[in-house]
Symmetry: C2
DNA sequence: CCGGACCCTAAGCGCTTGCTCAGCGGCGCG
DNA sequence: CGCGCCGCTGAGCAAGCGCTTAGGGTCCGG
């Protein structure tokens, strides 16, 4: 029991904004459980147990199990949106911004693959109005990425005939990292990020730097 | 041939190998339900109801609900493997084989997105030994694709420093089609296949054939 | 007419689920 | 010290779950 509680708590303090302490422990425990077995296969007893408390304690901090998922999804998608926004709003060419966007976005999905798995693959378990709200966040992320690719296509840096389709593919690539990534795999989150950034830049037909011909920094 | 009955079940033609008729109807109903709500959120009563029979009838044809998922996963992954094998075993350059592999593999995931969603995203609900068996099929699919990319890298057609990583990314791209594709979206399965084939060929740095209306740098 | 093989159903069993509620213990404050 | 507050628990409820069982309708060879 105590071991389970400690393990839940040693997780990243990505939930630092959640108070009080018991509510935060519950979020951490729920993310772990949802990522492992999926929302519907996880019981409230399991979540409470991992957080080191009785099943009834969960309902002091959250009205329902679905509200827990909603809180997790909200925080996670807001974080993902901020990452994309930081890259999209930076100075630099479309190539530089796209590289940064894919690198950081894919890296986050690898590093926080448990959280990412929950927020990307358990969405359908949300109630209709919560689902709609979260979908709005995703659409904003999508628009930011699409604008980068559109900019590159307009300026001639990229060769993308189908900007929405290419955007979809890039986003799909990054998101799906959460499905296959494991901490004990051969790649670090950093490596996944740079690999994916390289692959995507070639996918959009960006000029190839540093490979055969050196480019001025 | 019971033409009328078969036409009524035309949605589920891909399960033609499943007999008797009631067992096939159950498979079709289960795929539909699993794809919509997920394995754990689907009840045996729902499956039986969609198939037009009582809950108890399910257990005449399948020992458990998990066995239904196992049958579905087996048939689906064997089909996916055959598609990949056909492309990998064809005559032609690595470029031609990769284009064909991605085009047909991605197209199948779009056209049969309900089945694909179940077999790719509900795997964890299988029991350990069934899971291991299905994972073996996936590994064979992976190897076939990796060999194509390796061939292209060896012959100099592709520029892929990280062959396993690139293989993972390509497979991930195609599989994830099942997650976002819907029949009422703007793209047909055929269009998804050709778009993805183009994107992947550029991703591996294949020489650019007479491109359409691209804007040369 | 029989008698069993084959499919199917109505009813329901044992269990787990999400969630509730009366009450308890330790803390801060008067 | 006494008292209220609040986070929490033990016990448990109604509902729904996967799955079982006893039996009924239909067809067929005899």
């Amino acid at each position: 029991m105590a071991a389970a509680a400690e393990r839940a708590e040693e997780e990243h303090e990505e939930w630092a904004g959640v108070t009080p302490d018991a509510a935060r422990r519950l979020v951490g425990a729920a993310v772990e459980a949802f990522a492992e077995r999926g929302y519907h296969a996880t019981t409230t007893r399991d979540i409470a147990g991992r957080a080191g408390m009785s099943p009834a304690a969960l309902y002091i901090h959250y009205k329902t199990k679905e509200e827990l998922l909603y809180r997790i999804s909200g925080i996670g998608h807001e974080k993902a949106l901020r990452i994309m926004a930081a890259a999209a709003g930076a100075e630099g060419s479309a190539t530089e911004r796209l590289r940064d966007a894919v690198r950081t976005f894919a890296r986050w999905h690898a590093e926080h693959h448990t959280t990412a798995r929950v927020i990307q693959y358990e969405l359908q378990a949300l109630g209709p109005e919560h689902y709609a709200e979260i979908t709005g966040l995703r659409r904003r992320t999508d628009r930011l990425l699409r604008q980068i690719i559109q900019d590159g296509a307009d300026s001639g840096e990229f060769r993308a005939d189908d900007v929405p389709g290419t955007t979809l593919a890039v986003l799909s690539l990054c998101v799906d990292v959460a499905r296959w990534f494991t901490a004990d795999g051969p790649r670090t989150p950093d490596e996944v990020g740079t690999l994916y950034a390289d692959l995507v830049l070639r996918m959009v037909g960006a000029p190839d730097p540093g490979r055969s011909a050196g480019t001025p920094r």
